[in-house]
Amino acid sequence: MECILSLNCGTSSAKYALYDKAKRTLVAKGVVERVTIGQSFIRHKVLLPKEKEFKVLHECPNHAEAISLIFKALSGELDADGRVIDSLSWIQAVGHRVLHGGYKFVKSALVTDEVYQAIVDMIDFGPLHNPANLAGIDAVKKLLPEVPQVAVFDTAFFQTLPPKAYLYGSPYEWYEKYRIRKYGFHGTSHLYLSKRTALMLGKDPFKVNAVTVHIGNGISLTAIRDGVAVDHSMGLSPLDGVMMGTRSGSVDPAIVAYICKKEKRTVDEVVNVLLNRKSGVFGFTGITDIRDLCEKVSQGDEKCRLAYDIYVYLIRKCLGSYLAALDYKVDAVVFAGGVGENGSDVREDILKGFEPVGLKIDPAKNDKAVRCGREDDISAKGARIRTLVIPTNEEQVLLEDVLAILDGSYDVHTRFTYSFQK
């Protein structure tokens, strides 16, 4: 069997998925957790031909060890039951999710020396993630030197943003010198949603106007006009935009200075630790998972109620701002991501009070669109703007980018048709 491996190396984790190249089906997936921080382990799940799952402790002081552990799991060296490939030679290509393509990538790319260097050049923008992504590429290169590797960038989809959306009001010289601007993230998800929305509405993919709302651990919203991204809530980094599980979202820059001074902390600590990992829902409540938060809210916890209200409120504001940015000429508002797809309460609360601008959901349809894993139109009858729930599929985009790069048919999404567009 010929296979495609996808890898997503985070700062302390390595997620993977193995696909049957011919059938394009998922064969096995898993994650190595606690890479570089000790007590690491792999959780491996086989899906085909028979479901099987196991966890093995194994120290991974670096990503190279984690990748080699993944290969052992796939080839049955850790546990014979986990075996899905007889030989590493079954792997035809590896696709990496790379966080930050900066201004250098408008689409996915075969990892050549030049592309590798460009990812290195973008480390300033993704100082935590890009090195992890590169470590993954290095590790694969060492173990499978002949196998083509593809970089799929979280940022690429947003290179269509116009300057008025991607420029901050900060000094232009920072843009010229350091390319400080909005880049955007969750690109493969928003790309998928944009294409599927067009299909669901029976519209030309380049005539569709939508606001796509991805609510998972991270939250991002994209304004889509004529099928391309024209604004986006995450910015220079994934910290920007609305409040999330552990991230503050955008805050007054003076707050960073205030906290640095008040607690004698470095900017690194305040931005990368406090605002990225100790803020958001967690900062209010000590809870990160929005499902847990909703549970507490239903039990009447006041603090959790406040955190939930702010969480919803900021998404509402962002949605409202993008509807206006699109001149309210919007075909659909699209919910996706773990919470976006399954949180019917969250969707209902976000959309409350949007009737005057033409958005209204059918409560029964909304309740039904939970954990069914299928696309649904939950709009109320007569709503000018449709409300859709679309289970996003970032892996599908990655897989198709890799396959198309292998067979030479790949191009930027404005000149390329994915299988899921039909």
Partner: protein
Amino acid sequence: MWVILESTPDRVRFDEAGPDGTAEARGGFLEPGEEGRLAAMDGLSGVAHVLSHGGEAVRLPAQSVDGRLLREILDGTGFLPEESRRILERTVRLVEALPAARHLLLCDTAFFTALPEEAALYAVPHRFSRQGVRRYGGDGLLHEWVWRRTAVLMPGTRRLVSVGLGNRSNLAAIRDGKPMDTTVGFTPVEGLPSDTSSGDVDPTLIFQLSSRGHPMEEILEMLSRRSGFGGYCGRPTGLADLATGRGGTVEEARRIFLHALVKYVGAAISTLDGLDALAFASDCGAGAVELALEACGSLGFLGIRTAGLPVLREGAPALLSAPDSRVPVLFLPARRRQILYEQIQFSVKE
């Protein structure tokens, strides 16, 4: 006669007003140590001390103060910026120097102390919220004035988006006279880009610049004084320049500003669950009207129709919306001094 004292970053401006606060203004600048000049003024009945940021302590837009109350505010535990402390300490000195005069504190953040928590709080670790890290807003005296004017001109208005258009623009979502949200945050840097300040940025920007060797003070200074329209165009650029400027960087700056403005109007409409009136207040005249009309262009699908450039009469409000517009759009010429006078008048009458 009343005197209004207002601090600019470098010095203190004073303006004279008649006994009821309405007379033609005369004024000048008080250099440091010249505060005694006020004591020599004939017929001084009151001093209005303008405080742009009253922190958590000052909760009334116009408040009569004496030395004891000022001390209480200064000694209180609530958050109060350093600059505001200096202004309040000067106020204490003037209250002592001018015991016969009435002293009024006019505070630009007071209106927004009533913001709902979901609009006021940041999603930072909660201990900082307890220390006073929150959205304070700005230009509250203006927005409250806009609400009062709109209530008179458009009776029955409940949900109002009030846009202050100037070199430092900001916006407030108001329901039944109460603030629901605003663009200015912990400091005036957040929100819309201004003539010199950036508006909203990703906080990560500070980390990336600091890792490239820029000290924090420099970064903040750049964000508040060398950003915005001027930072983009590379030369001093105000709102009037944006309105009249054609081509090149000024036009791009105008697009950036309008994009941010339209987004904030959209966000405010979602805050208010709709809109009954939209009011633009400005002392920038025709240029501001042009920008306001352009912003309204994005709201056509909401049934907002504009009527083209109105004839502006000195100081008189103008209707920007067409008769068939679902929501009225007002343009209110707003002079800062006039707003302050009206506030004094209001307080004196009480």
